[in-house]
């Protein structure tokens, strides 16, 4: 530690206060040169605030403490200053412009010019080099909008590399990626490390952290709790204990054996892509869900799980070509979302911010939004009923907010997700389709959501759980369907299956993606 050059970055006693809140309280962080350093903590623990202090989003003077970077104390006045020093942040929300090409995005604001003219040939040549370095095989002229999230992430990293970065900060880099893309990204980070790159990685996926990081700093309630170096002794339970300050019991609640009759059934469901009529996003899909049963849907990103679910939910995606749905054995005519809600189906979307919630609304108004009829007389909304129900769900699901009048934008991801769940529970559904219900939320909130799912199943509801996290699927589901390229490729008993088997069914023609 004493050696001046061993640490690329030292943040010493960083304290950052907002009016009324101490977001960071004497946080210490030391990152060695050439290591992958993970930062763990629950949502709201202060990870992002710490990174904002480091990158100058909160400029010097608005916090106390020292940042020692590359041998000297630095006082960054803004993002530009930190970028100049070679610090680059890859944010959770990608900052690329969809209409522009890869090259244009990489050199945006940093154009190579000769006499005022942009030298596109040179830019393209350098882009090619960068793309090779991040192992992305795409034409540099491809517009960003044609790339998946995983590839966009790689472009972001290429953009950072172009700026001669010394310290790469990745904020939840794999949150939106499927298993395959995640593995590719993690491999890239490891490769960059071999080239001498220092990285800081913020992630909720503890398995990934365990897999690639050299040391882990745990932050809880704005304080740095401990720094662990990853050797054989650190496992997920150890990290979780540090993050929540206690040992969490079994992460997944006990499964129940009280599974009833078939409640919902879909036969030969086929859906066309909304724009490309030659492409089928769901092909002759048939599945069943019983009352009290949790059915998992496993598949790679883009396999068609969300598309199938949304198509069933009132044909909200694509064009339905054929297929029938049955509720309690009766054919269910579901043409609109309204029909679906009336039939007792709820769909919790994978993207709560853009599809699940109106972020301008209060908790109260969000909870009742999908079934105003339940609190209305005629077409007039009874605001007392509304407040009473909202309060009931707030308490029931333990949504952390002093009042239901608070805006949903003030809530953490986990609590927003609970509001979305409350919104759909309020519609009194019989079948709940939960699309990635725990994406991007912290360990504590995840456990709570698992409890809620279990409780709903125990109440006799049928649950479809779409998830990219295999341990979650195996831990929660009774049965798992695997989907590959729009087709259901397997039906597995969750009690007698391991991750590898599920993986094999999810990607029958590909091999070895499983970690």
């Amino acid at each position: 530690m004493a050696h001046e050059d061993a640490n690329l970055l030292e943040m010493v006693n960083i304290t950052k206060e907002f009016p009324g809140v101490k977001a960071l309280d004497s946080v210490n962080l030391a990152v060695r040169r050439g290591e992958i350093h993970a930062i763990c903590g629950e949502n709201g623990a202060g990870k992002s605030t710490l990174m904002k202090v480091l990158s100058g989003v909160y400029p010097a003077g608005t916090y106390t403490g020292d940042i020692r970077y590359d041998g000297s104390v630095r006082r960054f006045s803004g993002i530009n200053a930190s970028e100049e020093a070679g610090i680059a942040i890859i944010h959770q929300e990608l900052a690329l412009i969809p209409e522009l090409s890869i090259t244009e995005n990489i050199f945006l604001g940093n154009e190579i010019t000769s006499m005022g003219r942009i030298d596109w040939d040179e830019a393209r040549r350098r882009t090619n080099e960068l793309l090779q370095r991040v192992q992305l095989r795409e034409d540099p002229d491809t517009p960003i909008k044609y790339l998946g999230v995983g590839k966009q992430q790689l472009v972001e990293i290429a953009k950072a590399l172009e700026k001669d970065v010394k310290l790469l900060i990745l904020d939840e880099p794999t949150a939106a990626l499927n298993e395959h893309d995640s593995q590719q990204l993690l491999r890239l980070i490891t490769d960059l490390k071999a080239e001498g790159m220092t990285s800081i990685m913020i992630s909720h996926k503890l398995a990934e952290i365990e897999q690639i990081s050299d040391s882990i700093t745990i932050i809880r309630d704005g304080k740095s709790i401990e720094t662990l170096s990853v050797d054989g002794t650190v496992d997920e339970d150890r990290i979780i204990r540090g993050m929540v300050g206690r040992t969490l019991g079994n992460r997944f609640p006990e499964k129940s054996s009280r599974i009833g009759d078939v409640m919902f059934e879909v036969r030969d469901w086929t859906v066309q892509h909304p724009l490309d009529t030659t492409r089928l996003v769901a092909k002759n899909s048939s599945f069943r869900v019983r009352a009290g049963e949790v059915v998992g849907f496993a598949g790679l990103m883009g396999a068609g799980r969300t598309e199938l679910a949304m198509s069933i939910f009132g044909q909200s995606y694509g064009v339905k070509v054929s297929g029938e749905a049955f509720m309690h054995g009766e054919p269910a005519k579901i043409r609109t979302v309204k029909d679906a809600i009336k039939a007792g189906i709820a769909y919790v979307s994978e993207d709560r911010k853009s599809l699940g919630l109106n972020l301008l609304d209060t908790i109260k108004r969000s909870i009742v939004a999908a079934k105003l009829g339940r609190i209305s007389k005629g077409s007039v909304v009874d605001d007392l009923d509304e407040a009473r129900y909202a309060e009931e769900y707030r308490k029931d699901l333990r949504i952390k907010s002093p009042t239901v009048e608070a805006g949903v934008d003030t809530l953490s991801g986990g609590n927003q997700q609970k509001v979305v769940l409350a919104k759909w529970m309020f519609t009194q559904p019989e079948l709940l389709i939960l699309d990635e219900p725990t994406r991007g939320i912290d360990v504590g909130a995840k456990a709570e959501i698992y409890q809620i799912i279990r409780r709903l199943a125990d109440e006799g509801k049928a649950i479809v759980l779409i998830s990219s996290e295999l341990p979650e699927l195996i831990g929660m589901a009774d049965r798992i369907y695997t989907i590959f390229e729009g087709e259901i490729t397997g039906e597995l008993d969750a009690a007698r299956v391991d991750q590898e088997t599920v993986m094999r069914h999810m990607a029958p023609t590909q091999k070895g993606h499983a970690a």
């Binding site: 009132g314 979307s349 599809l355 919630l357 109106n358 009473r388 009042t403 009048e405 986990g414």
Partner: protein, 436 residues
């Protein structure tokens, strides 16, 4: 219900003062309301008391009710995420068609009014169809509408002024008549004021009783008393102003129409399903659709509603002027849109209230009226109105920016924290966990 199981906070807290102005979300409107009061006071001093004289207040209602009516419709359009540039042209077109049909076909005044409403609705349905079902942005549809209906207006009226019959004028431009014993005041206006005060008291008491019976938290009694008193005082002051006008004038019919429309749309937007749908679609269209909201129908409704209201505004204007003319409604859309944004609506949609739009519309109306009284020429009037819009919305934007120094921002943050401290709901564990 006994006293022990009611949840009522006791004792005085300074922060409770804000409760007088409503329970939530009204702070922003409060600052606009403050701005309006300041503007009125400036003109009151500048005009040596003419601004708040009975004659001028009555004139203000009659001459500028169109801005308020348009603002009310426009705020719903803007909340949904659209805009309507055609309102001035639609108002003028409806005015000329109604005037011409009464002159040429001898339609009675009431049939003329019904025709005007129907025509406004039909135009709105036409524009709504393009917006909602074809998917052309409202900006373009109503830009086209702006040209179409302006041209059609001049076509129908042959670019001439067409007079409206007396019955039509009386119905829309008349006053509450003089009845009963001779007093220095207009008796019916006094009666109307009394009814409004009683209604305020009734609704305050009823709302409290309803909250009590449902077990919700109650606000301190003094807050209810103070709010009722404040509202009543304003109403009584206004009543006396309107009732003490020159003989033959009193509270105008257009004011009654305006008041009814404001109350109706305030209720519609805040307490009905369609109102919720408007906010839902404007806030997040896809999320609204996935919650079962028919977004197209919502788009159609707000566009149709706007043109209907524009028709009403056009008829009020024609009644006041005694005729429908080719220059009617020119640039009305700008006053209405400005009023809506001064009233706190967001360009991107999802945010705004009818109450805010009314205050914003009043700001525009008072500016128009006051500057005219003072004798500022129209050219400079435009400059001032433009600057007021810029400053009003600018302050709003600065308020929303966090972390940047702004005196008003800090003041507002203080007020706000005081207010949330005085929320009615039971105190719970107060950690909102994620602010990272």
């Amino acid at each position: 219900m006994t006293a022990d199981n009611t949840k009522e906070r006791r004792g005085f807290r300074a922060s409770d003062i804000w409760l007088i102005f409503g329970r939530r979300g009204s702070l922003k409107q409060l600052s606009i309301l403050g701005a309006l009061v300041i503007i009125i006071m400036i003109f009151q001093i500048w005009t040596n008391g003419t601004t708040l004289s009975s004659g001028n207040v009555i004139n203000l209602v009659q001459a500028y009710s169109f801005i308020l009516i348009l603002s009310v419709g426009m705020v719903m359009v803007i909340i949904t995420g659209h805009i309507d540039l055609s309102v001035g042209s639609v108002a003028a077109f409806v005015g000329i068609v109604v005037a011409t049909s009464m002159r040429d076909w001898g339609l009675p005044w009431w049939a003329g009014i019904l025709l005007g409403i129907a025509l406004g609705a039909a135009i709105g349905a036409f524009q709504g169809f393009w917006v909602a079902y074809v998917g052309i942005p409202a900006f373009i549809v109503t830009l086209a509408g702006m040209m179409i209906w302006r041209g059609a207006q001049q076509w129908v009226g042959q670019a001439q002024t067409v007079a409206v019959p007396d019955g039509f004028r009386q119905a829309l431009y008349g006053y509450l008549p003089e009845v009963g014993p001779a007093t220095p005041y207009n008796n019916l206006t006094l009666l109307l004021g009394l009814i409004v005060v009683l209604a305020i008291i009734f609704f305050q008491v009823r709302s409290r009783a309803k909250r009590k019976s449902s077990g919700a938290m109650l606000e301190p009694v003094w807050v209810v008393v103070a709010r009722t008193g404040l509202l009543s005082a304003v109403v009584i002051y206004a009543t006396l102003l309107f009732a003490s006008g020159r003989v033959g004038t009193s509270f105008p019919f257009s004011g009654i129409i305006l008041a009814v429309l404001i109350l109706f749309y305030a209720f519609l937007t805040s307490r009905t399903k369609i109102g919720r749908h408007i906010y839902a679609v404007g806030g997040n269209r896809r999320a609204a659709e996935l919650s079962g909201v028919n977004s197209r129908r919502t788009d159609f409704f707000v566009m149709m509603n706007m043109s209907t209201l524009a028709g009403v505004a056009g008829m009020l204007w024609a009644a006041r002027a005694g005729a429908a003319g080719p220059g009617d409604g020119t640039m009305w859309e700008l006053d209405a849109i400005a009023g809506v944004f001064i009233g706190g609506a967001a360009v991107a949609g999802g945010i705004g209230t009818v109450f805010g739009a009314v205050i914003g519309g009043l700001v525009m109306a008072v500016l128009n009226n006051g500057l005219q009284l003072v004798g500022v020429p129209t050219d400079r009037m435009q400059v001032i109105k433009g600057l007021v819009l810029l400053v009003a919305v600018g302050i709003d934007v600065l308020n929303k920016q966090q972390g940047r120094f702004s005196f008003i921002g800090i003041m507002m943050a203080k007020l706000k924290s005081g207010r949330t401290g005085g929320q009615l709901e039971q105190p719970q564990q107060t950690s909102i966990s994620d602010k990272s």
